[in-house]
């Protein structure tokens, strides 16, 4: 079972990384969601599958079966909620970006808006520039 989950996580990661490398921001966001699911499944698998691993053992040694370890599920739930909040924020952000910048293509977004030539310690060069 674990081995199949590993392949699934690997496949989802590949899809997510590919989408996140695309220039379009919506594709990037979908890639993030896929990658987030891959991470969640990974935690789920890392926390051991099945109900054969009880979380708490009483001091007397009695094992509280058949209860699965709830911790991975709690972690995943937290991660899902956070991922949900991030995605919701991302959608609103990209929506505003589209309205203001008129593009969602990351490659059409320069690093700075204003050209700022670097000052030079040598006076002659500076005079040429200014």
């Amino acid at each position: 079972m674990e081995i199949w989950m590993a392949f699934l996580v690997g496949g989802l990661t590949a899809v997510g990384v590919y989408l996140m490398l695309r220039p379009h921001l919506i594709q990037f966001l979908i890639g993030f969601l896929v990658l987030g699911n891959a991470a969640n499944l990974l935690i789920f698998t890392a926390g051991r599958l099945g109900s054969s691993f009880p979380p708490l053992v009483q001091p007397s040694g009695t094992v509280l079966e058949p209860i699965a370890n709830p911790l991975p599920q709690a972690l995943i739930l937290t991660a899902i909620v956070i991922g949900f909040a991030l995605a919701a924020f991302g959608i609103v952000l990209f929506f505003r970006a589209q309205a203001v910048l008129h593009t969602l293509n990351a490659e059409a977004m320069p690093e700075t808006l204003e050209a700022a030539p670097a000052p030079s310690p040598v006076d002659e060069v500076r005079e040429e520039r200014t």
Partner: protein, 141 residues
């Protein structure tokens, strides 16, 4: 969207969904459910109503602007976490008491805070998106 069917049913569904959301919130006490999922259902109710009757109509059904609701929700959650201070226990220690035979505790109050917070936060996001969507065609023209 101006279909008669949606307008009529959304009124009933709105009430039903809100009831369901409160049911889910209180069910979270001991069974699957809770503040987060309850708030999502309540947001669904408002989103549906806004879709059928317009944003301003949906806003009128809110007692407070959504972002203030977030504040109040967080405040409720914070107060529930601080109760333990008066009993000399660490932060967020669950305190339980009995009210008319029903066991009530700070986790329940915390959940109500979560409910209000998630409700307010999501609703303000959705309202914000719909408002910009309404405005954008005008800006373009």
């Amino acid at each position: 969207m101006n279909t008669l069917i949606l307008k009529t049913t959304s009124r009933f569904l709105f009430t039903l969904l809100l009831l369901l959301s409160v049911f889910l919130l209180l069910r979270g006490h001991n069974e699957p459910g809770g503040g987060f999922i309850g708030a999502l259902v309540a947001v669904g109710a408002y989103a549906l109503f806004a879709l059928a009757h317009g944003l301003s109509a949906a806003r009128k059904l809110l007692p407070l602007p959504p972002l203030r609701l977030v504040g109040w929700g967080l405040l409720v959650a914070l107060v529930s976490a601080l109760v333990a201070f008066f009993l000399d226990k660490p932060l967020m220690t669950g305190v339980w008491f009995s009210l008319f035979g029903v066991k009530i505790g700070t986790p329940v109050i915390f959940d109500i805070g979560v409910y209000l917070t998630v409700f307010g936060a999501l609703l303000s996001a959705i309202f914000g998106l719909e408002e910009t969507a309404d405005r954008t065609p005008e800006e373009a023209s």
